[in-house]
Amino acid sequence: MAECACNCGEDELTKQLDKIIDPYRGQPGGLIQVLTKSQELIGYLPKWVQVRIAEGLGVSLQEVYGVVTFYAFFSLIPRGRHKLSVCAGTACYVKGMKTLIKSLRDVIGVKPGQTTPDSRFTLEIVRCIGACGLAPAMIVDGKDVHGRIEPEQIPEILEQYA
């Protein structure tokens, strides 16, 4: 039932996935590490990947899926090339994070948790990023911090990420 679009049978991706799983074979405790590395490899965690991990580590698919859906870090859907992480910590929240989200939505056309059809951006909401002095803040691709964002600055910011 692996719903892999890439014909995963003996596919290169599967081999690489197995390399991630191998050191943890039969070790349920390695679940989060394996999921993290697998997502780094594939970009997200589709069902066939979760099934392979469940069988490799000897845990139920239910457990794998429960962990994947518990942590905001893991994604069940393909991610865009650039990740827009809008901070929803207390300071950002009161300084207009909701307006920021709305403005981003107006520009890229997707809701938090979604990816643009051209796979350019994934929009997500994260907990406090520790940049309260810059509220409302957003991190792009986990490294570029943009602070005190005004709605009209958004197109300019996004232009930097093709």
Partner: protein
């Protein structure tokens, strides 16, 4: 020992105990919701909060360990206020459908709401909306009624080791379900229904087939017959309000007749028949070098478990159908012919302590009479409801006898309902058949009781027969892993899906706990002792069945009607 004070009462209790344990000693009733003794001890719901002197916050009594000199108050106004708040918050996201809920008046959440006098919910927020999963023939999941206590997850994961359910997402969006919200019917859920037995509300319940039975009873063309599983007679009492351990055999027969069943038969009859078929199969395997150990096949949850998780061991399963399905196949062949009834007109109902039986009767292999052998299965809970609907007061019904011939049985058939019972019944017969000697005592005490894995060696003539008995699928797994590793030298293994055996089945009256299981087991052996005949091979109706119809155990007709095959299924398919 740890000394503490609870509600001004001094109490001493072993180290490692919880405040909840200690409170029970002094008679302080602390309410619980998610807590399930020995199974789900996670302090999730917070309804058991108590005040501990010097503690910064309230502490959950079900998980908080006792400490020397601890001063606990279980019922201060602020504790009660906090509990009410918890309840209100749970209820604010609960569909208020109590009147139309199958758990009406047998719901732990409803009881708490009543005890705490909740008259209004101050919080009018969002409600979780999830579709009902009624894909399974046995169970219905309605996540809207779920209080996220995780008892079902614990019993499915830790007791049964099936792991069909887990918590998904987080916070308000938390959902207890199979991965990817798969349907219960399409995955490795074994339909055992232990989840439905522990659910405090109506979030997982048996699929109610009572209306189908009423419709059949109302149809004058139908010849409606019923079989009752061994465990049902020690359960029905509870389902209609009697004390656990009550034996309602004769009352159940009388009640079923008053409901309008044309014939009231007994699964105990085909339990006896199972012993003859399975006993001979065992002897054949031992003498002719068949696959050993042989494992019993009466319990449909266990069959599905083996098909999913141990498909490589399916050859170890006895090919015998369960007593329910043997009965179904014979009712529409042997009985139909004997009674001169067209099998097409027979509507075959079975009363079971089991949800998986609902699944079993729909399996494609279970059409050997040319029809669906068993048309519908009602759990003990459903039969209790049917009796209530019909205004039958069980306690005041005169005891009646089962109909012949498919209602004639022995004590050996009766004990099929308790863990170890199938093994004991088999030993009673195998011993006498092999040695030609009469057993001095038919009681094989070593088979009985709630121990998860029981082992014994029984000398049968020259052969020391090594047996194992497991109840609860987690215990079955221990023995199966030994077989896989080549470390099991048993001849015969009895596996029952549910803890305690069928008397603790997923279709049992709620509540079912260790104490109640023990009472039902006692009642089962009391029934056995009351029987004139206590060995399956002495059942005259079974002897007649072979003479008139089947010819011999493992014969051609037996093969066609009473035996089956299994399907390797695997997991995550």
């Amino acid at each position: 020992m740890i000394n503490l004070t609870i509600d001004n009462q001094k109490v001493a209790i072993e180290e490692g105990s919880t405040i909840l344990d200690a409170a029970q000693i002094v008679g302080a009733k602390i309410p619980t919701l998610c807590y399930l003794k020995e199974i789900n001890v996670i302090g999730a719901c917070r309804i058991c909060m108590v005040e501990v002197q010097g503690a910064r916050t309230f502490v959950p009594a079900c998980v908080a360990p006792v400490a020397e000199g601890m001063v606990v108050r279980t019922n201060t106004p602020s504790v009660i206020k906090a509990r009410k708040l918890v309840l209100e918050l749970i209820l604010s996201d609960h569909p208020m459908e109590c009147l139309t809920c199958v758990r009406n008046q047998n719901c732990e959440l409803q009881t708490l709401a009543e005890e705490f006098g909740i008259s209004e919910i101050r919080f009018d927020g969002a409600k979780t909306e999830y579709p009902i999963d009624d894909s399974s023939p046995a169970l219905i999941r309605d996540p809207r009624k779920c209080v996220l206590c995780r008892r079902c997850i614990s019993v499915c994961t830790n007791v049964q080791t099936v792991q069909a359910l887990a918590a998904e997402n987080r916070g308000f969006d938390t959902l207890i379900a199979p991965a990817f919200n798969d349907k219960l019917a399409d995955m490795e859920c074994v339909q055992c229904g232990q989840c439905s037995l522990v659910c405090p509300t109506g979030a997982i319940v048996e699929k109610d087939d009572v209306d189908k039975v009423w419709a059949a009873l109302a149809d004058p063309k139908k010849h409606v017959l019923v079989q009752t599983a061994p465990a049902t007679r020690v359960q029905l009492g509870e389902a209609v309000g009697a004390e656990p351990g009550s034996i309602f055999t004769g009352q159940m027969v009388a009640g079923l007749r008053r409901l309008g069943f044309d014939k009231v038969f007994d699964t105990d009859f085909t339990a006896d028949l199972t012993i003859l078929e399975e006993g001979n199969e065992l002897l054949q395997r031992v003498t002719q070098g068949g696959t050993l150990p042989m494992i019993t096949s009466c319990s449909p949850g266990w069959i599905k478990f083996c098909e999913h998780f141990y498909p490589d061991l399916l050859d170890h399963l006895s090919t015998c159908k369960s007593p329910q399905q043997m009965f179904g196949a014979l009712a529409k062949t042997y009985y139909a012919k004997k009674e001169g009834v067209d099998p097409a007109d027979i509507y075959s109902v079975s009363i079971m302590p089991c949800t998986a039986k609902k699944y079993e009767c729909q399996r494609p292999e279970m059409f050997s009479s040319g029809y669906q052998d068993v048309d519908v299965v009602l759990t003990s809970r459903e039969l209790g409801r049917m009796f209530k609907q019909a205004g039958l007061d069980c306690s005041n019904l005169p005891e009646e006898e089962y109909d012949a011939p498919l209602g004639i049985s022995t004590g050996a058939g009766e004990i099929f309902g308790a863990s170890g019972g199938v093994m004991e019944a088999a030993l009673r017969t195998v011993y006498e058949v092999v040695t030609g000697q009469t057993l001095e005592s038919v009681d094989f005490e070593v088979c009985r009781g709630l121990t998860g894995v029981k082992e014994a060696t029984v000398q049968v003539g020259d052969l020391p027969v090594k047996v194992a008995i497991t109840n609860g699928l987690g215990n079955a797994r221990k023995v199966l892993d030994k077989i896989r590793a080549g470390e099991a030298d048993y001849h015969f293994i009895e596996v029952m899906t549910c803890p305690g055996g069928c008397i603790g089945g997923g279709g049992s009256p709620i509540p079912t706990n260790t104490n109640i299981r023990l009472k039902r087991i006692d009642a089962t052996y009391t029934e056995d002792e009351r029987m004139v005949l206590r060995k399956s091979h002495e059942n005259p109706a079974v002897t007649a069945l072979y003479e008139e119809f089947l010819e011999k155990p493992l014969g051609h007709k037996s093969h066609k009607l009473l035996h089956t095959h299994y399907t390797p299924r695997g997991v995550n398919k």
